[in-house]
């Protein structure tokens, strides 16, 4: 801190050199950032302790019946017991398989159809009312039909995911593909690019950050679709387990499975963010402005 010492005191006032002023500003910024980080974590951890603590207390004191609400220590015990057991090795694996296959299929179908709709606007105009109509079918009502068609195995679960995640991707992607800057569109014409090049050089790069958000949503919906279908009728999968545990009043096991699902979903979403980071970096630069 030699720069700080170099400040002089002139007639009772501290005179700060330019270099020192810069130093102080930097130190102040670092301090305030650290302070914010500490505060954030204090609030976060405090909330969780309060939440789990009162839950544990209510259950232990029998203020609320632990058969109905479970208790955190018991959930943790169930959870660690499950790791390595058949819930993870069979059911979670099956659910993951269904979710990821359904997610990828929805992505491919949704993006291809959106691409065609944007590239050939006549198709969009022709199909838009049909898309809206099909999308307003309550999809959960189709699950029994899918089970009749495809049986109790993974196929009916994948069909259920595709039946609604495709629309999430399709409608989101159409929005992302049509959000191009007018000046960019003019530029693509000025430079003489054809329609295909316009899509790949202008429209799609511009849509990537919005698409990344849509993918995230689609992935979470895919898990939702798999588990819903499993709960309504399946041979294996975490949804099947959930129904089983609920029927037997095994609340701790039930919550432990939910906890497992949350952890796996968050991990996959984070992985996807990491994968797409390279393509959305420019957007961050643009938002920050420097």
């Amino acid at each position: 801190m030699s720069t700080i010492e170099s400040s002089r005191e002139v007639s009772g006032q501290v005179v700060v050199s330019a270099e020192e002023g810069k130093q102080r500003l930097l130190i102040e910024a670092q301090r305030s950032e650290r302070r914010h980080l500490i505060q954030t974590w204090c609030i976060r951890v405090g909330f969780i302790i309060l939440w789990l603590g009162s839950w544990q207390l209510f259950a232990a004191q029998r203020i609320l019946n632990p058969v109905f609400i479970g208790e955190p220590s018991g959930i943790w015990h169930s959870f660690t017991g499950m790791l390595g057991g058949s819930v993870v090795t069979t059911d979670l694996r099956v659910t993951l398989f269904e979710s990821i296959v359904g997610f990828l299929a929805s992505l491919i179908i949704g993006l291809s159809v959106a691409y065609c709709f944007v590239r050939f606007s006549i198709l969009e105009r022709a199909f838009r009312p049909i898309v809206t109509a099909v999308n307003s079918v309550p999809r959960i009502a189709l699950i029994p039909i899918f089970i009749i068609w495809f049986g109790f195995g993974p196929m009916s679960k994948i069909a259920n995911i595709i039946s609604f995640v495709t629309f999430t991707v399709l409608l989101g992607a159409i929005g992302a593909f049509t959000a191009s800057d007018r000046d960019h569109m003019l530029l693509s014409k000025v430079l003489g690019f054809n329609e295909r090049e316009r899509m790949w050089k202008f429209v799609i790069p511009n849509a990537v950050p919005a698409l990344a958000n849509i993918f995230e949503l689609a992935l979470i919906y895919s898990f939702l679709g798999a588990i819903t279908a499993e709960m309504l009728g399946g041979a294996q999968g975490v949804g099947v387990r959930l129904v089983l545990f609920a029927n037997q009043y095994q609340t701790n096991n039930y919550f432990a499975v939910l906890f497992l699902i949350v952890i796996v979903t968050v991990a996959i979403v984070q992985g996807m963010r990491l994968l797409l980071k390279r393509f959305v970096k420019w957007r961050e630069v643009e938002m920050r402005g420097e």
Binding site: V190, L191, G192, F193, K201, V285, E286
Partner: protein
Amino acid sequence: MMGSKIRNSPKDSAGQSMVNQYRSNEPKDNGLVIDAQNVGLWLNGSEGPVEILNSIDLQVRNGEYVAVVGPSGSGKTMFLSAVAGLEKHTSGSLRVFGNKPVPEDPRLGFAMSRDALLPWRTARGNVELSLEALGVPANERRERAEQALAQVDLSDYADVYRAQLSQGMRQRVALARTLVTNPSLLLLDEPFAALDAQTRILMQERLMKLLGSYEGTVFLVTHDISEAILLCDRVIVFSHRPAHVAREIKIPLPRPRSAVHSRSTPEFQQLYEEIWDQLSREFSVEDI
């Protein structure tokens, strides 16, 4: 520099095969780069057809610098778009290099007032975009983009994204993007309108310097009378919409001109007033 390659030795210049393709079917090259005869243009507006251009008659010879001024909304951009092949005129005859204008023509270079830089590309990537349109191979693209950035003094900013550039720098990247293909007809639509007054003067100075080694033709649309006088040999005044050519004024000022000092000469002042007089007659009550 720019332009020279295409006209004199088409070898090793941008999209060579395309140049030849456009040259081979030139019916008559009477030295006119732009030849507009009674060009009329109607558009389908929300309340039926609108007449934008009434009858534009103007010729631009090879190597000439011509400016168009006119009231805003008179149809200047529309005419420039027609010259660039982006809009179709509905009557009369419009020939560019003796042919029907098409946007893919590699001899055209178009600059707009908004930079339209792609935020997901670096400065170099944005400059390379024009070369991609001509099918220039990647390593040559990179090299030429860097040369073009050096011309506008932005060598150090090649890897920087749009958000990190000032407005003036963005406009310079856009200028490099236009010049990198060595166009022989530069179409400039209010190229500096988005800049503050001081940056604009600096950019005009810079453009004049760059044009010192340019052998092509310049067709400039601007609302800035000084800019028109400074940069061009001839100023064409468009009437209010639907536009016709209200007047042509020759600019006999000697070159090189200076964006700062030429303004204060009496000759400059006189030309300014002459153009302003004509222009003010074209303003309608709604404009004010």
